[in-house]
């Protein structure tokens, strides 16, 4: 079998005495849409932050296309406090800042939309192109990078066209309605040229109609940009509809994983999550 795009090995994230994510191992294969679900506070976003370099995991390793991008083991005071398993299995510290992880091809969106609010839609997306542009501060200030700048602008125009945002390109990001802000955030993530897209609750705050459209949109993204998608979501109908596989977290522990059907009928999941989610399904 080919190497997984993303593989988490025994990732544990402990804040002081609180274990937010415990011994999480999972993999996301090329071209898959995989969902990470779980009740509030289960540690889903923490897991995302461990992958993207925002947090340094207490123990464990993250591999991207077979290459370790994050690795950590308990050090200093944490050695005595550590409550997890697999102590001694990892002995390296690999830590990239989030920008370097983005550069390798992992793009993400945020649970509470984080756009550059005072900038226009066009500028928001254009900023994502900065990291791969061949220029330095002198060539940029003296406009010697005109060709590069034009290429960046053309790419952004194409992307906005494809995302149906072109007519809004000069609007200030904060003036967009909520649903479009989410679309813009995804477009901005795509502009970094990722091979893996992490979506943190893309359907949060959307009504059922919008959620359905989003489901189709995410599937389109996968086809069009040859993406692998890993998402956190609370809307069960969305998750069950588009995911190839589902992982379920509860209090930081992985309690079940498999196809949507398998997860839905797993008694542990029903007990931890779907049992109470009958009322709160949307």
């Amino acid at each position: 079998m080919a190497e997984a795009v993303l593989r988490l090995e025994d990732v544990t994230m402990q804040f002081g005495g609180v274990v937010a994510v415990n011994d999480l191992s999972l993999e996301v294969n090329e071209g898959e849409i995989v969902a990470l679900i779980g009740p509030n506070g289960a540690g889903k976003t923490t897991a995302f932050n461990c992958i993207t370099g925002v947090y340094e995991p207490t123990n464990g390793r993250v591999l991207f296309h077979g290459e370790a991008i994050v690795e950590g083991y308990p050090q200093g005071r944490m050695r005595a406090q550590y409550k997890g398993e697999n102590l001694g299995k990892y002995a390296n510290t690999i830590r990239y800042t989030p920008d370097r992880i983005t550069r390798r091809g992992i793009a993400r969106t945020f649970q509470n939309i984080r756009l550059f609010k005072a900038l226009t839609v066009f500028e928001n997306v254009l900023i994502a192109k900065h990291m791969r542009a061949r220029q330095n501060v002198f060539s940029a200030a003296l406009r010697l990078n005109a060709k590069e700048e034009r290429r960046m602008r053309d790419e952004v125009k194409l992307l906005l066209d494809a995302q149906n945002l072109a007519h809004l390109k000069d609007h200030v990001a904060s003036s967009l309605p909520y649903g479009l802000q989410r679309r813009l955030e995804i477009a901005r993530a795509l502009a970094t040229g990722p091979s893996l897209l992490l979506l943190d609750e893309p359907a949060a705050g959307m009504n059922p109609q919008e959620t359905q459209e989003l489901a189709a949109f995410i599937q389109e993204l996968r086809e069009e940009y040859k993406l692998t998608i890993f998402l956190i979501e609370h809307h069960m109908d969305l998750v069950m509809k588009i995911s190839d596989r589902v992982y379920v977290l509860d209090f930081g522990n992985l309690i079940s994983h498999g196809t949507p059907d398998h997860v839905q009928s797993d008694p542990r999941v029903i007990e931890a999550y779907l049992g109470v989610a009958d009322d709160a399904e949307d």
Partner: protein, 392 residues
Amino acid sequence: MTKKTHRLTAAALLALMFAMIIVLEQIIKPTDAAAMLLTVLKKSSVYALVAVSMNLLNGFTGLFSLGQAGFMLLGAYTYAIFTIPLADREFVYQYYDCVVHFSFPEALGSIMGGFGALLGVALAVILAGLVAAAAAWLIGLPVLRLKSDYLAIATLGFAEIIRAVFQWGKLGPVTNAANPLKNYVRLNFFRLSIGDTTINLSAFASVMMATLCIGAIVLLVNSSYGRAFKAIREDEIAAEAMGLNLYRLKQLAFCISSFFAGIGGAMLAMFANTVQANNFKAAMTYEILLIVVLGGIGSISGSCISALLFIFSSEWWLRGLDSGRFLGIAAPSVFRNGFRLVVFSLIIMAVVLFFRRGIMGDKELPYAAGRLWGRLRAFLAKADRKAGEPNG
């Protein structure tokens, strides 16, 4: 209007401004009351540049730094030390043995004459900026890990340390310790002698230098790097997730801002008769911060306009309030020393109350002018309709 006509308009306006300054400089004699206009113009060009450089950091990158006076000091000293004529060094460094035996204008002037001297001055100014930028790089290593208020306190502290170090007796052979540096190349250096007539270009030179530097900052702000700075201001976490290297970009903004503050310091040295570390107090940084806030955080033209208004009011228009006679009213018992500051503070309060986000907000002059023009046209059209109604 298209982009091209915008540019042409801007260039024409700038050329007109420079022509006016040159003409004024020839007409106004140093003894005239209007000579104050030129003095104030020179000083405000310095403050405009430093305010814009501070705005690059505080307004565009979102780093609240208060080190401007320290970097100006570095620039002023570097410039002065490298332009004092060798023959005058013994006189200037009267208590120390000067160890720097090099003057850019002299060294190049001896090879290339007048043009060489000018080139030497330019090199000294650039060196002033580079020294300030290098210091900023070093200070930035520990300090840029801090955020908001903490960054402000740390940079303010470093500026004060720089000021103290430059007054240290052990450094006397280089900095002349607490004694002033003088006899370096000043603004009156900029003049053209053709036969008997002398064309005075000191105000022109000062405004020109400020314009070039501010132009460079404008180009930077509108480039890909400027966008990256704004992204950091808007949301650091999102900026980092978009692949922007926060630390390197912050360091870059800090160094560039300090580079231009250093050049501003060199220009201030040229404007004044002497350079003395004691003059670069934190109060100077606060003045510049005030200019930035009044002009609008994130607006370059706002900083320029506000620097002009600030210096013109504090140095010229409101002078009468301190010396007994203001707007033709003679009231020596009220208009006494210090009254000017009372009025000045009231004006500032009024500006802050009525223009919450500064004079320009975060908009630039062309935008504001466009809106004003639009309103004027709407007003004229309305007046037109009114005039037409009774007949029709």
